[in-house]
């Protein structure tokens, strides 16, 4: 697992859920939370040398370590999530976060009455910017005049663990008039959703479906199917369908999306649902392309 810990209620937890899914079907796995970057190489190596196969690493931070270790274990299959490692025994799974975020952006803009919405990333960081940028594009596609506030919780990885500050950040956006806030802050995001719920406004979850956290207040969640990716990797090796290379999971592949369930059914009007479906279709068909922040480190809409 990546920094932030196994049960961050979003990214890592999704991977865990995927593994559990696999286990529920009779598979077995071993896992580990790392406590420092220096451990990464060591961790992969230890797993590999114990014959674990495949080894799933959720998080781009594993990239460097994997590049070093993977060649040492040519027979072990590695799956890395969120970044690309170009090696013959590595499968890289990346998501088009911007696409899923685009959809929740649409929902946010349609829900917003104030013409102001917010996004709260943990800290200033490219991956998180991709979420924020997609979100802003989606929102502007509905309402070009909408104002998107972006406020960071902290300055480094520890920000993923500070719900207290995240609450305060969300409150500052609410104070400024935002009425829908998208959290991109892992564990700290709970604070954002809490603040939105307390204020009677709306939050948007991330990575896992977080709609259930505050039913009626979490507008939707930008789900990123890390669980599916994890499950597929494990299952794939078992079935023999695992293949190296890059797997890009976007809307088309059902790798990202906006979550609809009973918890938010009352919040989503048919119009909204329709708009999401249309955008989704447009993106899949290529009629609409969502700009990816990571390509040029810039966001035209934010």
């Amino acid at each position: 697992y990546d920094g932030g810990g196994k049960f961050d209620k979003s990214f890592n937890e999704a991977a865990y859920n995927g593994a559990e899914m696999f286990k529920a079907e009779g598979g077995a796995y071993q896992d580990l939370e790392i406590s420092g970057d220096a451990m990464r190489e060591q961790a992969i190596r230890q797993f590999a040398s114990r014959g674990n196969n495949p080894i799933v690493m959720p998080g781009f931070s594993w990239e460097t370590a994997l590049k070093t270790v993977a060649p040492e274990f040519p027979d072990t299959k590695f799956t890395i999530i969120d970044t690309v490692v170009d090696l013959p025994n590595v499968q890289s799974v990346v998501f088009k976060e911007q696409e899923g975020s685009y959809l929740v952006g649409i929902l946010a803009a349609m829900k917003s009455e104030s013409g102001k919405i917010g996004v709260v990333p943990a800290f200033n960081f490219d991956l998180l910017e991709a979420f924020a940028c997609g979100y802003a594009q989606g929102a502007k596609s509905v309402n070009p005049d909408i104002e998107v506030l972006e406020t960071y919780v902290g300055t480094g990885f520890e920000a993923f663990n500070d719900p207290g500050k995240a609450t305060e950040v969300a409150k500052s956006q609410l104070d400024q008039g935002a009425d829908v806030i998208f959290q991109v802050a892992g564990g700290a995001g709970a604070g954002v959703l809490q603040a939105a719920a307390d204020a009677g406004k709306f939050g948007i979850g991330v990575d896992s479906n977080q709609n259930h956290l505050h039913p009626g207040s979490v507008l939707t969640s930008m789900v990123k199917r890390v669980d599916v990716a994890t499950y597929n990797a494990m299952k794939g090796v078992e079935d023999g369908t695992w293949a190296p290379g890059v797997i890009v999971l976007g809307l088309a592949e059902d790798g990202v999306g906006a979550a609809f369930d009973d918890n938010n059914a009352s919040l989503i009007t048919d119009d909204m649902k329709a708009a999401v479906e249309k955008a989704s279709a447009d993106i899949i068909s290529g009629a609409v392309t969502v700009h990816d922040f990571r390509t040029d480190k810039a966001c035209p809409s934010l």
């Binding site: 300055t155 305060e168 409150k171 500052s172």
Partner: protein
């Protein structure tokens, strides 16, 4: 004009919320340092308090029991601190550091084995938390220009711990400077021999100080997990114990200034959230990290520019040894 006022009250409101855990931790540190015990373990005590409060509240459904548990956990930590630094005359700083490690490890560890959520406690809601209290007439007075606005937004609508923290400041000042206990407390931090030759037990006095420290910091921890947030989260104290310590030194170990310094930290943070990403006249867009570092940079400047040398209680950090 009106909207500026609203903005300002909202920022101040946020200031208050951010400052509360600092105020409590800072006052907590004040008692122990005034008694001659350097407390770098505030961070750990805060974290332990936060964890115990959230756990108890999650299990029993009562925020008040959670608060008690938070205090209890901080008391246990203070007990260890006292044992190490008062009875065994160990280094106070290192026992503080040990407490910080202990809290970081133990909270997640216990949380994981109790709640199976990787150290997180379950999400708390309703009575499991301390919710905002609307003070009498707040709604009615809301329409009164300016004052009503301030009363409604700034003064009313906080949780009980917030009010407690603000009351604790004058109470601390009063205890420290107007009571027998306060007199002895200050004396033991300055010259424990004077206390000893006056026939008063240094050990007892220092333990009493540590108990108060624990109560305050335990409440501060509870604030983090069951008032400000809705549940415990790994390392959620996020350096606030250290900041409180810095604030204490900044305030030269006095309660009034301690309040002001904590509010200043809170204020700078509250402002910082709001000016992120703003385009400034002349300077243009400032990197968000620079804005985030602003509170700390400003503090350094203030410290260097305006505050003279801080003279710590003289006996602070030195275990009291009496030859027998």
């Amino acid at each position: 004009m009106e909207s500026y006022l609203v903005d300002i009250t909202l920022i101040l409101d946020s200031t208050v919320r951010l400052a509360v855990p600092l105020i409590l931790a800072c006052l907590a540190g004040l008692y122990s340092e005034r008694a001659g015990i350097v407390d770098i373990g505030l961070e750990g005590k805060l974290l332990a308090g936060a964890f115990a409060a959230a756990s108890m509240s999650a299990v029993t459904g009562s925020a008040w029991l959670g608060l008690l548990a938070g205090i209890g956990a901080a008391l246990m930590f203070s007990g260890i601190h006292g044992l190490a630094s008062i009875n065994f005359k160990g280094n106070q700083t290192i026992s503080g550091v040990a407490l910080n490690f202990l809290a970081a490890g133990l909270t997640t560890f216990l949380g994981q084995s109790w709640f199976k959520r990787g150290g997180y406690t379950p999400q708390l809601s309703g009575d499991q938390r301390f919710n905002p209290i609307t003070l009498p007439f707040a709604e009615q007075l809301r329409e009164v220009p300016i004052l009503g606005q301030i009363y409604f937004e700034l003064i009313s609508g906080h949780n009980i711990i917030t009010y407690f923290a603000f009351i604790a400041v004058p109470v601390t000042a009063w205890v420290l400077f107007r009571t027998r206990f306060g007199l002895r407390l200050r004396a033991v931090g300055e010259n424990p021999k004077a206390i000893d030759t006056a026939g008063i037990s240094v050990t007892r006095l220092r333990y009493q100080a540590l108990i108060i420290t624990a109560v305050l910091v335990g409440i501060g921890g509870a604030y983090l997990s069951i008032a400000q947030s809705a549940g415990f989260n790994n390392n959620m104290s996020a350096g606030r114990g250290y900041i409180a310590l810095a604030a204490l030194i900044f305030a030269k170990w006095r309660p009034g200034p301690a309040l002001l310094v904590c509010l200043m930290f809170g204020f700078l943070d509250a402002v910082q959230f709001r000016i992120q990403g703003q385009v400034f006249p002349i300077i243009g867009e400032v990197p968000v990290q620079a804005i985030q570092a602003l509170p700390y940079i400003l503090t350094v400047i203030l410290l260097a520019g305006f505050i003279g040398r801080a003279v710590a209680p003289k006996a602070s950090g030195i275990p009291y040894t009496k030859e027998r």
